[in-house]
Assembly symmetry: C2
Homo-oligomer: 140 residues x 2
């Protein structure tokens, strides 16, 4: 069993400070469309960033086990939230990944990498809404 | 429909930088138990922080609608992740909330606040594992 602990202090208005031991404190607010600000992280962005960054780290772990050397990894992620009769709900998260590798043989392995990463990524697997991962591989 | 966009760049090793327009960049790594470091945020902590901070902001929104004045709000959250046959999976997130109010009448309202916030919180509702919220109210 692994545990992950955070703490939060409301600062008044729609702003708080979230902390985790040893890490820099983070200011969080509501998204501006819900009365907050666009210069601080909000919970919706943090959820999307958690999925996106967990996919990277899981992919790196899978690549290491497969002896696949990556020369680059970047991604862009978009979370969609909609009003439903039950309230606001996330309806999907899309992650577009760009991988760089050094050889055509690695490019072939890399094509399958993100599907495996998605299967094992604990944060992708923790969200109810569909997580759609697309991947472009640039080989040499 | 609301959209939340982030981008991620791998920095080598088990480290990346996650960005969202206008917000400070965040360094993310694997948790140290998976080869990363304990001085930067990891995806697991970010998921827990997203749930915890969304509960605060949803509670503030519900309180405003109920004309309930809060004098203080703090919380601590713990996410549990376990090895399962399918890989690492989140099995539960606990959030302990401490509310402060200014009158016995508000204390009564505040007792019900977190149950309503939990029902409407989009991030709590986006995770598959149980989110257990407990709440202590300190009134005057």
């Amino acid at each position: 069993m692994f545990t992950y602990q955070t703490s939060l202090q409301w600062n008044g208005g729609s702003q708080g400070t979230v902390a985790a031991a040893g890490r820099p404190d983070l200011t969080i607010t509501s998204p501006s469309e819900f009365g907050g600000r666009d210069d601080a992280w909000n919970p919706e962005l943090m959820l999307v960033a958690a999925v996106e960054s967990c996919l990277l780290l899981t992919a790196l772990s899978v690549a290491a086990r497969q002896k696949l050397t990556l020369a680059g990894y970047a991604s862009q992620a978009t979370g969609h939230m909609e009003k439903t009769p039950e309230g606001l709900r996330f309806t999907g998260i899309e992650v577009a990944v760009q991988l760089k590798v050094n050889s055509p043989a690695d490019a072939e392995k890399a094509q399958k990498l993100m599907a495996i990463a998605e299967k094992y990524c604990p944060v992708s697997n923790a969200v109810k809404c569909p997580v759609r991962v697309t991947c472009e591989v640039e080989g040499k």
